[in-house]
Amino acid sequence: MSGAWTIYRRELAGLFLSPLAWVLLAIALAFNGFFFVLSVKGFGGDVLASMSFLLGGSYTFWLLVVLLPPLVTMRMFSEEARTGVLEFLLTAPVHDFAVVLGKLLAATTLMAVLWSSALVYGAAAAALGTAPDWTPLLSGVFGATLVSALFCAIGLSISAVTNTPLLAAFFATIANAAILSLPFLDALLALPPGSPLRVMLGHANVITQFQASFVVGALDTKHVLFFLVWTGFFSFLATRVLEARRWW
């Protein structure tokens, strides 16, 4: 695991030494901020409502979650495969999974930085005399980070498939949107109530899973596990894809 930590540090440095991360952050922060201020106005100054709006209660949040992780992760494998650095990493004495994990953590960290802006807003509100409810706010940031981790893992698996970063971002965005719209499938297929597929689709409802706990300020092992497990699954997938690059 020290290998994963090393790669995490390297990836983090790589991310923040490149202008892309800063540009993404600046744009995302401005975007997020715009809707936050808008929601503060819309809710008549209700801090709590605005905070949950910012962290998962709104479509803007999901827009960012769908769009941003692919942009962050698109280069992580495809670019390295092109420049050959991947060969260096894959011949270094670390497990492939450590490589994936390090990169996943780095990408997730960037997203966490973005979501942490909510804490800044919270602090600002506190300074203005209306302190937010801190624990749910923290759990919201945590949850947003978990969701981002899931989508980063998806982005990584796709980045591992292709050598073209833009293609990776494109397909990852489509995959993310597809996963978010899974629940609509049951209406589309007109599944009978109680059919196993429908039940499964119900469990695969990312937005509901998220809003049922993190947005309302509850920490539910079910939902935390849901995101952890599927992040793990896609990391595993990315590892396998990475491995497949060796023999395909």
Partner: protein, 522 residues
């Protein structure tokens, strides 16, 4: 775990081993997928699931009383939600009430995933929903139906769950949510469905009473019967002349509009039943010849110190020009609302609170008279308005619906009364409340008829629930809503947030990015 390509491919051709390997990897990934599904599933199991409420006000936790109720449920309850957007001007307030109820149910479901199942019906899917609504015997939407086993309680959004202040359209003040009592309503419903008993209500027959099963005639009781059954009561007929003893396990005896007199022994049986802690609903008779005679329901009521007066109570009808009209038949229907409802009695308290009206056609006036049982409590449930009068029959036998100050008495009159007293030989006062004898007198049997039951349903059901000892009263504190509001008008909060959102944070990123770019040039 490293997939070893060597083992598979030794001796195979390149292309073949590649596909074999791909298959193997697909297998592994499929296995991982299965594993993820299984863990996801396991995580949903209540035994393996923990939920922590992090909010300061416990937004994600049910009130302890409510939580206890849910925990004590004998079997899981199904809560079905039939919400549809309201029309203007209730759109906003309706949505708010729906939202809060949904959230409450959501909290309940998350806190007790095994005990509470919530199904939100999509009212846009008309065909499917109407089938289900018919099954549940629902006549309106925007209700929440709590089902547990055979028991079912219907909560109506804008009456049982939330109370709306209609606002004033003239000054363009929109309706607002005056009170949200979802917790309480849900608690009552849970309590009701969780008590697994079906009290028996017997309607007497053999004296020309209203037909309990007929659904077609306007005055029959068919709808009442199905309403009682739906509410968890067992309603049946009892012919005292055929079986003189009151059947065992009878909770309530109802005598609705008999046309023939009861025999003395029948009356005695019924009185004994009540005095030993039984419950009785008696309506006055519509048969003028029987009225007040021996063996009549009025004579029965007199045994409990309640007298029925001759004639029908009438009230003037507003003519739409600021005046009042009399002399028309509509005067014979008394509308009781507001102050006419007793605000403390369990039967009428909720009606009064939700500003409901009870309409009583052909109502007789009731009054306390004579000797009442010891320690009894007599309450006027429904009172006619001050402007009402007791319209006495003219020579033709019917009233003229005009107030004759000389011969006729002015209101208000009690139209329905509730009497409670401790049964004979009971000393323990605490036991007394639970086993008290209860009698409800109703001056207007038509209230129970098919035709207008729907209008007075709440009142009627409350009567039966009180009589059958199901008048649970819960006090549940409404869930706190944590509102922390920035004063946007008087502070520069928006400016600060704007600067933060558009200036400081993205600016910081830009500056840091520049610094990094510059420092990494060489």
């Amino acid at each position: 775990m490293v997939v070893s390509p060597q083992d598979r491919s030794r001796g195979g051709t390149g292309a073949w081993s590649r596909w074999a390997l791909s298959l193997q990897v697909f297998g592994v990934v499929a296995l991982a997928l299965l594993g993820a599904v299984v863990v996801t599933y396991l995580a949903t199991l209540p035994a393996l699931r923990r939920r922590f409420d992090l909010t300061a006000v416990g937004r994600n936790t049910l009130d302890t009383t409510l939580a206890e109720l849910v925990e004590k449920l004998p079997e899981p309850v199904l809560v079905e939600v039939f919400f549809r957007p309201f029309d203007y001007p209730l759109t906003r307030v309706g949505a708010e009430a729906q939202g809060r109820m949904s959230e409450l149910l959501h909290v309940a479901r998350n806190q007790f995933p095994t005990q509470v199942k919530v199904r939100e019906h999509d009212l846009t899917d008309v065909a499917k929903v109407s089938v289900r609504m018919k099954e549940l015997d629902l006549e309106e939407d925007n209700v929440v139906v709590v089902t547990c086993g055979k028991q079912k309680v219907v909560l109506r959004l804008l009456r049982d769950i939330a109370r709306v202040d209609p606002g004033n359209p003239l000054v363009e003040s929109e309706p607002t949510l005056e009170a949200f009592r979802g917790e309480e309503a849900l608690g009552m419903a849970l309590l009701r469905v969780s008590i697994d008993e079906t009290p028996r209500v017997l309607f007497t027959v053999g004296h020309g009473e209203r037909d309990l099963f007929d659904l077609d005639k306007p005055v029959s009781l068919g709808k009442l019967h199905s309403a009682l059954v739906a509410d968890g009561l067992r309603a049946d007929r009892w012919d005292p002349s055929a079986s003189p003893e009151v059947p065992a396990e009878t909770r309530v005896i109802a005598i609705v509009d008999p046309q023939q007199p009861f025999s003395a022994s029948e009356v005695d049986t019924i009185v004994r039943f009540v005095e030993s802690g039984g419950r009785l609903l008696v309506t006055t008779t519509g048969n003028e010849r029987l009225f007040g005679a021996s063996g009549s329901p009025e004579a029965l009521l007199a045994r409990f110190g309640i007298a029925a007066r001759a004639g029908y109570v009438a009230q003037p009808i507003p003519d739409g020009f600021g005046g009042w009209r009399m002399g028309i038949e509509q005067c014979g229907t008394i509308v009781v609302a507001g102050a006419g409802l007793d605000r403390r009695h369990p039967i009428t308290e909720s009606l009064w609170r939700s500003e409901e009206r009870v309409g009583l056609p052909n109502a007789r006036a009731l009054a306390p008279e004579g000797v009442r049982p010891q320690n009894s409590l007599l309450v006027d449930l429904l009172r006619s308005p001050d402007m009402s009068w007791r319209d006495l029959p003219q020579s033709g036998g019917r009233g003229d619906w005009r107030f004759d100050q000389r011969s006729e008495e002015g209101g208000p009159f009690a139209l329905s009364m509730a009497l409670a007293f401790p049964p004979e030989g009971l000393v323990d006062a605490t036991e007394g409340e639970r086993r008290a004898a209860r009698v409800v007198a109703l001056g207007a049997p038509d209230v129970l008829g098919n035709d207008i039951l729907a209008r007075n349903r709440d009142y009627v059901m409350n009567v039966f629930n009180w009589l059958s000892q199901r008048d649970y009263r819960l006090v549940i504190r409404p869930r706190e809503t944590d509102r922390r509001v920035l004063d946007l008008a008087n502070t520069n909060a928006l400016t600060v947030l704007n600067v933060l959102a558009f200036g400081v944070l993205p600016g910081l990123c830009a500056v840091l990015g520049l610094v990094v770019a510059m420092s990494r040039r060489r």
